[in-house]
């Protein structure tokens, strides 16, 4: 019997599979397809201090083996999320990881503090890497000093373990990871999307209303594997890996690279059942490659 369980700060996961933030809303729509209790965890869509409308449409564009998105952190605001979305998700036997974002350190701190009042939430994912908003997000994710500061401030107010979500849009991701680890991060999640653009040949204009967007999907998987591989050798906190995961073989590859759990994003759009299917398929793939538990695999592909 293959053991899929994995223990991370604040999280005792029955399996390492979770939908990634922003690709699963607050779970309601996908709960019509399968029982969300099957999931190791759910990372909710980003919460900000007040409600946000987000960017104009078009907000998505297909690319080769992936897609660009520029949603712009649309959400109803943290209070409404705690009042109406978290209670819905707590009907399921799975861990809730709340993604939080802001335009300023004060907003991040306020959102983090608000989740102290939501006992159903097991951990925070600190989104310092959204490439699609003008203020907040990415500038905290590209400067190690700012990343460390927002991490430390959030850690100071929050009762929950904090996983910092790193951006790949940096020249030295190891430096970013070490900075937030030193500032008190309990874990990392990586990678967020890569900034990209697509130009429509007929209109000669960027296809997305926001001009640029975040590239996700299978196209970015090798970037994610490389970054997780590098970072895992320089930090001692666990990594939730993500970036183009589509198959159980991909899950194995992320674990080998050094991730302790794996989030699935864009693949939910092609196949709403993908997380459920990966959980079903993972034992036989682990077995095929000679592993009897998820914890056995973590980092086994790392070349020191």
């Amino acid at each position: 019997m293959t053991d899929l369980r994995i223990e991370l700060p604040g999280l005792q996961l029955k399996n390492p599979i979770m939908p990634a933030s922003g690709c699963f809303g607050f779970g309601r729509e996908y709960s019509n397809f399968y029982d969300l209790s099957k999931l190791g965890a759910i990372i909710t869509k980003a919460a900000t201090g007040t409600k946000r409308y987000g960017n104009n449409t078009p907000r998505v564009a297909e690319t080769s083996s992936g897609m660009l998105n520029a949603i712009g952190l649309q959400n109803p605001g943290v209070e409404k999320i705690i009042a109406s979305e978290v209670p819905f998700l707590s009907n399921f036997d799975t861990s809730i990881i709340a993604n939080i974002a802001g335009s300023s350190i004060e907003e991040y701190v306020a959102v983090a503090a608000a989740f102290n009042e939501a006992p159903q939430v097991a951990a925070l994912e600190l989104n310092i890497s959204c490439p699609n908003v003008k203020e907040g997000g990415i500038q905290f994710g590209t400067d190690p000093l700012m990343a460390a500061e927002v991490t430390a401030m959030v850690k100071r107010v929050s009762d929950l373990p904090v996983y910092v979500k790193l951006s790949p849009n940096v020249s030295n991701i190891v430096e970013m990871a070490k900075a937030v680890e030193k500032a008190g991060a309990d874990g990392l999640s990586m990678i967020n999307t890569l900034t990209g653009m697509q130009i429509n040949l007929k209109s000669r204009k960027p296809l997305l209303a926001n001009k640029t967007g975040g590239l996700s999907g299978q196209a970015i998987k090798p970037v994610a594997i490389r970054m997780i591989h590098d970072v895992s050798q320089h930090v001692s906190i666990p990594i939730i890996g993500m970036g183009g995961v589509t198959s159980a073989e991909d899950v194995l590859e992320f674990l080998l690279a050094g991730a302790s759990a794996v989030a699935v994003g864009t693949a939910n759009f092609q196949n709403p059942f993908v997380c459920s299917e990966l959980i079903d398929e993972l034992p036989s793939i682990l077995d095929k490659y000679g592993f009897s538990s998820v914890s056995d695999v973590i980092g086994k592909g790392v070349i020191v």
Partner: protein
């Protein structure tokens, strides 16, 4: 409820310039789909599904007909699928058209690839004993499709942008040819919907919107539209694609 199903392609026809009609077999969707709903179709090698409005259903034969225009690599690839092949489909998605019991004469206004959902609706309205008038706009004579099908439902006015068939101009130019109606339904490109809703501002009407979609089920917030109340929004894939003409801000 949306299900993920396999649909057998039972017929494939080129019915106008760059315009393909697929007849798909599936029991669940053929029995449950309502006018205005759409299918979200996975095309091999493409990461985002394609939303296609349902043009008609046949409950006896258990088939669903969809139409699409070849407009890029995804729809080109879809046009190359053959009879007997299967498509991976989510459906039926969206809310569908709301039909008011008290309306007796209905105006349908379709533009280009916005025409197919008007046909499903028109058939349904005629079955309910209502009178249907249709204005259908196309780019040119070569793009015209379903004229006979709409004629069978009621009076039909064809408009082409270049005047190569029917009336010349836009669907809004043909509104003067239509007598009294109690409600209108429209689907087509955004500039057309803006013109139609502006011109028929005093009438009760419903619009069906299209937008680039991510998940197609309401989770990803890719296809939102602002509402006319303050700072509200609707998800086109889940709350729509059909809205009351006064509900959303085009």
């Amino acid at each position: 409820m949306i299900k993920k199903v396999e649909m057998l392609i039972s017929q494939r026809r080129i019915i106008a310039l760059d315009t393909v009609e697929l007849t798909l077999k599936n029991k669940y969707i053929s029995q449950t789909a309502r006018p205005g709903q759409f299918l979200h179709i996975l095309v091999e090698g493409h990461s985002l599904r394609r939303p296609l409005s349902i043009a008609s259903i046949n409950k006896v034969a258990e088939t669903i007909t969809v139409l699409f225009k070849i407009n890029g690599p995804g729809t080109k690839k879809l046009s190359e699928y053959k009879n007997g092949m299967y498509l991976d489909v989510l459906g039926p998605n969206g809310n569908g058209f709301q039909i008011e019991e008290h309306d007796n004469t209905i105006l349908l206004i379709g533009g280009g690839i916005g025409v197919p959902p008007m046909y499903f609706l028109g058939k349904h309205l005629v079955e309910q004993g209502k009178k249907v008038i249709s204005i259908l706009g196309f780019q040119s004579a070569g793009h015209v499709f379903y004229e006979d099908e709409f004629e069978a439902l009621g009076r039909t006015i064809i408009v082409t942008n270049d005047g190569s068939y029917g009336e010349k101009g836009f669907v809004t130019d043909a509104l003067r040819l239509v007598e009294d109606f109690e409600c209108y339904y429209t689907c087509g490109p955004l500039p057309m919907l803006k013109a139609v809703t502006a011109k028929l501002n005093d009438c009760s009407g419903y619009i069906s919107l299209e937008e680039r979609m991510g998940c197609g089920v309401g989770a990803c917030f890719a296809c939102v539209i602002p509402t006319n109340d303050h700072f509200g929004y609707k998800k086109i894939c889940k709350d729509g694609p059909v809205f009351h003409s006064k509900e959303v801000s085009l």
